[in-house]
Symmetry: C2
Subunit: 198 residues, 2 copies
């Protein structure tokens, strides 16, 4: 949330992600990004000669890395090392934000996919890579929690997909119920995948 950290370039990438996840890619103007990042407008063309496309792609990549790092930190700090606890923590990040800050924004990767998957190939690839990064982090966490290797990828996809969908519904409803519901319903299935021999 703090804007003043780091250089202006990183601030602009961060601000782009913020604006994209709020109103979608097309509604996030370059001028808005500069203002939000408290960066000079002229710096946009200097740091991002590839234009808006480059800025959006970097914002999506940043979001993917952020989500992956977050998962890695979650799994290291779980009170109970169970897959359901990891998923609950991933969901809680969103319920916390929605309860305290309001339902302003969704997932920037989802927004980029919706707005650019068909029109801008490079952005679709960036979104795919972001999902892959995120999913890889979740799969590794599941492995550390005792899920057999051959199931970690599938369950990671299930967790991320379910989370993304619940975010959508929660934002439409302005109600975190969808998030808490999927966390509660999916938990037992995830824990059931833990190798009992572990």
């Amino acid at each position: 949330m703090t804007v003043s950290e780091r250089g202006p370039r990183e601030r602009m990438v961060f601000s782009a992600a913020q604006l994209i996840r709020r109103d979608g890619v097309s509604s996030a103007g370059m001028r808005d990004v500069a203002v939000h990042a408290q960066a000079p407008r002229g710096s946009l063309q200097h740091y991002f000669p590839g234009g808006k496309e480059q800025l959006v792609n970097e914002a999506v990549g940043w979001a993917g890395r952020y989500a992956g790092d977050r998962v890695a930190r979650f799994v290291a700090a779980l009170p109970e090392p169970k897959p359901s606890a990891l998923f609950a923590e991933m969901v809680r990040q969103w319920t916390d934000e929605y309860r305290t800050t309001g339902f302003e924004g969704g997932c920037p990767v989802a927004a980029a996919t919706v707005d650019c998957a068909e029109s801008t190939e490079s952005t679709r690839e960036a979104a795919s890579a972001a999902f892959t990064t995120w999913s890889g982090s979740v799969a590794q966490a599941l492995a550390e929690l005792g899920v057999p290797e051959e199931r970690t990828e599938a369950l990671a996809t299930l967790m991320i997909g379910t989370l993304e969908g619940a975010i959508l519904i929660a934002r439409a409803d302005r109600d975190v119920r969808a998030l808490t519901t999927v966390s509660r319903e999916l938990g037992p299935l995830l824990d059931a995948a833990v190798d009992s021999a572990g």
Copy 2:
């Protein structure tokens, strides 16, 4: 897909949904809608005096009703009356489209949520209503399949959320794998909810 059916007004609503689910709300121009619907541009202001906002909201509502009707028809024609079969059928609608027509479009309700949830209150409400309609239809179907009443709503939310997220990932990856994965992984959990006394 056929454009010539029905009156120009319905065609425009249908075309709006098509364009929205392809490129997002902001990228779907009013002129594009008229062209896609093979309708005169002048008719837009006649049938939709509320402007683009009204058109988008009606498109979202149409999508919600369409999805709900679809579920009702699915459940009546299931070879095996199990919740997992219903979910598999809901997923198959998307894998079929992606395999035959390509990954052009996602869910219009998701697109409207991403692009308008924060900026246009009425559209957010329309999206929420669409999810509610859809979810209600799924919940009723689950009840008919033997799921206890107190769990139908939660499982319907889980199914729709998971499907929406998987659509996102599949479109980003240009690969139906996410869809087939969630169908396979979620199936057992859904069937386990069937009242064994039924």
